[in-house]
Every structure is written in C-alpha cells, then in structure tokens.
C-alpha cells in the first residue's frame, strides 16, 4: 500500500532572502513518500519542517531541486495549477485550526467542496460523512466559538478530509491542545489513515504526535538527519 510513490523530493534547496544575503532553510533534501503513509517531519523550531511542508503543499516553491507531488512538479506549476492541486488532492490541518468564525461547523467543512463545485446533494452527504468520522454530527450547527479546542481541531480534520484528498499535511496539529484532546485527534487521524488510505504528513516536535508516527524524519538546520520507520510507542 505504501509502495506507490506520491511525493518525490530531489536535491531540494530553499533559500529565503535576509537583508542583502540569504538564509538557507532547506539544504539538499532527498525524500519520498508513498501512498497511505503516516509520517512526520520532526525537529526543533527553525529546522525547516514547516518550510518543507509548505513546499510539499504547493504553498511555496523550491529555490533549487525538484519536488513532485502526485507527479506535479511544484516548482513549475502556475499559481492556478498550484491552486487546483491543493483544491483537489491536498488537505491542510493547522496549528491554530483556522476555522472561518462566521460559518457553522457544517459550513466550514462544506467550504472545500464548494470550491470543487459539488452539487448541494453531494456536498450534504460528504459533509455529514466527514462529521461522523470525527464525531461532531451533533455540533454541526455550532459556530467555532462555541466549541472546545479539541472540537475545533476535529472540525479542521473533517474539513481537510471531506474531499477525501490523497495527502493531508498537518502542521503542529496538537500544539494548542491538551493531552487528552491531542490523543483523541491523533487517533481520529490514524483511523482515517487506516480506513481511507490517506497519507498524513506532519510537521511537529510534539512527543505525543511522534509516538503515533509510522515514519519519523528528523530535520536539523535544513538537513535530513534521520529517516526511520518507527514502532508505535503510544
């Protein structure tokens, strides 16, 4: 299941301009990810994990090297093609949930489907399915400000998963959650990974997340230090 390659990173370099010079955030990274992986980029702040996640998510482009996501070369995509890739194949989960506060839980989850132009009937079925996966059907009419942090993150997971993307990119998804909620959402994501065969790629330094990972890639100063399959320790 993990054999078919969905992301291939070759000699990736990412430099950011700083004053008159530049700062190298990623330094000759070579990685690949297969379908259905549950992997994490691990490392301290400034190690380059979020930058790498952004490039894999087509939110940023490489300075050098090549990043292929589902056979799309991220560095060569136009803005519109990048948007289409994100819209149809990728899901994002953020540290601070980033739900749209004026919309209900149902509407937040529905938003990606509107971009994909599903019919109202299709959208309703997909949203209700996604809310059921994360156990939030009873809260579908609530606004984000009426939910706990854990519930907000479960809405964010439902929003990322509702279109059944090939890859979900999660940047520090448990950073704002307590231990109980962290385990709850990690179990939810693990279940979705198992049942829907969606690849989950994390950027994290949270031990709780690391304990769920099946593959751990340790980054330090923009380089891959360790890339290993792990035994589940939770």
């Amino acid at each position: 299941m993990e054999n078919s390659q969905i992301i291939k990173i070759t000699e990736l370099v990412k430099d950011f301009p700083v004053g008159t010079g530049s700062f190298r955030a990623l330094d000759h990274i070579n990685l690949s990810f297969g379908k259905g992986e549950f992997a994490g980029l691990v490392g301290p702040s400034g190690s380059g994990k979020t930058t790498l996640l952004n490039i894999m998510g087509s939110l940023d482009t490489p300075s050098q090297g090549e990043v292929k996501v589902l056979d799309f070369n991220v560095g060569e995509l136009s803005a519109r093609e990048s948007a289409t890739l994100r819209k149809s194949k990728l899901g994002f989960i953020f540290q601070s949930y980033n739900l749209l506060p004026v919309y209900t839980v149902y509407e937040n989850v529905e938003f990606p489907l509107l971009l994909l132009e599903f019919t109202a009937q299709e959208r309703k079925k997909m949203v209700l399915d996604a809310l059921e996966w994360v156990g939030l059907t009873p809260k579908m009419k609530s606004k984000p400000n009426m939910l706990s942090g854990g519930e907000c993150q479960r809405v964010a997971i439902a929003r990322a998963m509702v279109k059944k993307p090939m890859i979900v990119l999660a940047d520090e998804p448990t950073a704002n959650l307590d231990a109980e909620n962290s385990h709850h959402i990690l179990r939810t994501m693990e279940k979705l990974n198992r049942e829907l065969n969606t690849s989950f790629l994390f950027a994290t330094h949270d031990e709780k997340v690391i304990s769920y990972l099946k593959r751990r890639i340790v980054l330090a100063d923009g380089k891959v230090e360790i890339d290993e399959k792990t035994a589940i320790t939770k």
């Binding site: 939110l59 519109r80 289409t84 990728l90 994002f92 004026v102 990606p112 971009l115 994909l116």
Partner: protein, 424 residues
C-alpha cells in the same frame, strides 16, 4: 459559492455592517455638504432675485442705463399690455410689476407740523389684487413684526427700524414727499398697516412697501412700472433658460434705436450678479471637491484596511485551493456590494437631512444684524440632480479603489507569506 460568501459577509459585522456604516456616514456628509453649500451659495443669489433683480427683469433701455438713480420718468408705460403679452408668451414664469421710488417720509403732529422726517426708499408691489405671489416672494408674512399686511388702498408696511426712528406705529399716518413720473412734486398720505424686519440693514434702515396701485397714484405713474420682474418655474435661477427667454423677448420687443422700448435682462446681467454667480459656483465646486477628496481618502483607507485585515483568511482560502484571482474577484465583489449599500443608505439619509434644511433652513439672523448688503437671514440647503449621485464618488469608487489596492497584496506576497499571517 457566491451565496456562501454573501452569507459570511452578512454575518460578519466587521466586514459588512461596520464598512457599510462608515461608507454611509461618509456619503451622507458628502451629500449633505453638497446640498448645503449649493443652497447657501444659491440663497444669496435668490434673495437678491426676490427683492431686486428677479430671474429676469424688463426695463426700458434708458431706465436700465441710469437705474441707480431710479429714473421713473424713463419707466415702462402701458405696463398692463406688456404684462398680458408676457403672460401669454411665457406662461410658466411668474411676472410682476414693480415701482421703485425715493423721497422723504414725513410724520406730522396733531397740529400738522412735521414731528419727524427721514429719507425713504419705496418699493411698490402687488399687495392687494388677491394674488399672493409677491407677498410670499418677499416673505412679508414672516417678516411682519407689528400690525398687519395692507388690506386696503393707502396702507403701507414700514421697516421696524425706520418706524422706531420716526416714532410711528401701525395706524399712524405718514406723508410721502417725492417727485412724480413727470418731474413734478408729489405728496401722498399713507397709513401704516404694519412694521417688518427684512433682516438686512440695507432695507431695514428706511424702507416702505406699498401696493403698486397706490404708488401709481402717488407719483403719477398710471399704467407704468419701473420694472417688470420674472421668476422661473421651480424657484431657482437657470442661466441657460433665462438667457434663451431674454434673447427671444429682446428680438421680439426691443428696438435698439428706441431707448424707451422694453429690454429684458437676466439675473446674471443685473448689477454685479455675474461675478457673484461665478464666485458662488466656483467656491462651492472647490469646497465640494476638497470634501469629496478628503472623504474619498477616508473611505479608500477603510477599504484598504478592510482588505489587509483579511490577509489571514485569504491565506486559508488559498491553502484550500481557491485561486488568487477568485479571491481578488470576490473581495472586489464584496466591496461593490458594501459600496452600493452604503452609498444608497448614505444618500437617502443625506437627502433626508438636506430636505429638512431645504424646507426649514438654518437661521443666521444674528450674524447678519449689521450687514450692509442684502443677504438672507435664513440659509437653506438645495437638492439638485447632482445631490442624488455625488455620493457614489467617495462611496463606491473610493471603497472599491481601496479594496483593489489592498487586494494587490494577494498577488505581491507569496502564498506561504499570507499563510503566516493566518497563523499569527
């Protein structure tokens, strides 16, 4: 998708209600200021028109040449015939005969000796025919301080200040000593019906108002008038229309070789009115332009800040796969909706205030107490066709322009940069 975004717009008061209120307030002020300035500038002109120049004025060419001397020996004769012809040829216009005259007003004691005397300016208008146009034009009912308006021949109104100087009251008899149309001495007794305050020292100093028939008798001007004034329908001066009527009338009636033939003048051609009209138009245009510019900057900034505040949301939408163009488009779409709603709301409120001030006016009598020139003591706004759409410049154009500029940031910044703002 549009419905979804519109729902969000309506629910988020920071994105909808607040900007709409800001736009509406700015537009309301713009609309009101335009109507107010137009009204105030026009007021001075209309005030002069009511008391003096009319929108159109007919005099003989000879009278017009020396009109400052009120040369009634050069007045229009067969005035009724000319009035009939004017009413027939230009039916939409209110025509009125007037006689201006000067002299001495003498007050005698019980033995017939002069008790008080003073120079007087007399204005004879139609007071007793039953037609109230001139009474209303001169606002005599609201200017009345003591007594009543003339009800029968021989009754006059006198300015309150002048009456005080002469120590006369309603019911007292006064004698006009002047000259007749033919140059002879004329003396005529009047009874004071009431006193009035015109609100300008130029008229309050020493004016009497008589019925035109009385003046014709007093100074021997049977079927003659110093001038015939005309007022355009709508109550406001319209230079192109007035000029057209003037040309038509002069072609038909005026003979350049006959200095006693009637000649029509527009308000613009009377006294120093041309420069006053030009000054008024330019001054109000400059003020309105400056205000619109200031209000545009305010609303442009409101649009700009509204867009900048939402960079985080845009980052999220980009991450979800919405294209930059689509986000930019919806942002402009929202600002157009806000601009239109705010502009319509602000225009309605501004028009409401303007209408109130147009109808009731602001009193400024205190400021005009020592004015030497004729100027109104109440200022009114004036709603013109421009009042209905002037608000769209700051309300819609500036709001959308601000949004257009703030939206450029979506293109200028890297997607991940917007994304960071979302996370912060």
């Amino acid at each position: 998708m549009i419905r979804f975004l519109f729902k969000g717009l309506m629910r988020d008061s920071q994105r909808s209600l607040l900007p709409v209120i800001i736009v509406a307030a700015g537009v309301m002020l713009t609309v009101f200021l335009q109507a107010w300035l137009t009204g105030v500038m026009q007021e001075g002109i209309e005030f002069n028109a009511r008391f003096n120049t009319g929108h159109l004025k007919i005099m003989t060419a000879a009278y017009a040449r020396d009109k400052d001397q009120i040369p009634n020996d050069l007045a229009i004769t067969r005035a009724m015939e000319l009035m009939d012809s004017l009413k027939r040829d230009y039916p939409g216009i209110g025509w009125a005969q007037r006689i201006r005259f000067g002299g001495l007003l003498d007050v005698s004691d019980t033995s017939g000796e002069t008790r008080a005397q003073g120079p007087v300016f007399g204005l004879a208008i139609d007071l007793l025919s039953g037609n109230k146009d001139e009474i209303s034009r001169m606002q005599l009912e609201s200017s009345l301080k003591k007594g009543h308006l003339p009800r029968k021949a021989g009754e006059i109104l006198i300015s309150e200040e002048f009456a005080g100087k002469l120590k006369v009251h309603p019911g007292d008899q006064v004698t006009l000593i002047g000259s007749s149309m033919n140059g002879a001495m004329a003396m005529y007794n009047f009874r004071i019906a009431g006193t009035v305050v015109f609100g300008t020292s130029a008229m309050d100093r020493g004016t009497i108002i008589t019925d035109i028939r009385d003046a014709q008798l007093a100074i021997d001007m049977d079927d003659a008038a110093s001038e015939i004034v005309g007022y355009l329908a709508g109550g406001f001066y319209d230079d192109p229309k007035a000029s057209e009527i003037r040309s038509h009338f002069n072609t038909a009636h005026s003979n350049p070789k006959d200095e006693f033939s009637p000649r029509m003048f527009t308000l613009r051609e009377a006294d120093e009115m041309a420069s006053l009209i030009d000054y008024s138009e330019r001054f109000s245009s400059i003020l309105i332009a400056v205000f619109i510019l200031a209000m545009s900057v305010v609303l442009w900034n409101a649009g700009l800040l509204g867009g900048l505040r939402r960079y985080g949301e845009f980052g999220l939408r980009l991450a979800m796969g919405e294209s930059k163009g689509h986000i930019y488009g919806t942002q402009i779409y929202e600002s157009v909706i806000i601009g239109i709603i705010g502009t319509i709301g602000g225009t309605i409120i501004g028009l409401g205030f303007s209408w109130l001030v147009q109808k009731y006016g602001f009193g400024a009598a205190g400021m005009m107490r020592n004015a030497a020139m004729m100027f109104p003591s109440t200022f009114h706004a004036r709603i013109t066709p421009l009042t209905f759409y002037i608000g769209f410049i700051p309300g819609l154009l500036s709001t959308v322009l601000g949004t257009l500029l703030s939206g450029i940031g979506i293109y200028k910044r890297r997607t991940s940069e917007l994304f960071k703002e979302l996370e912060s």
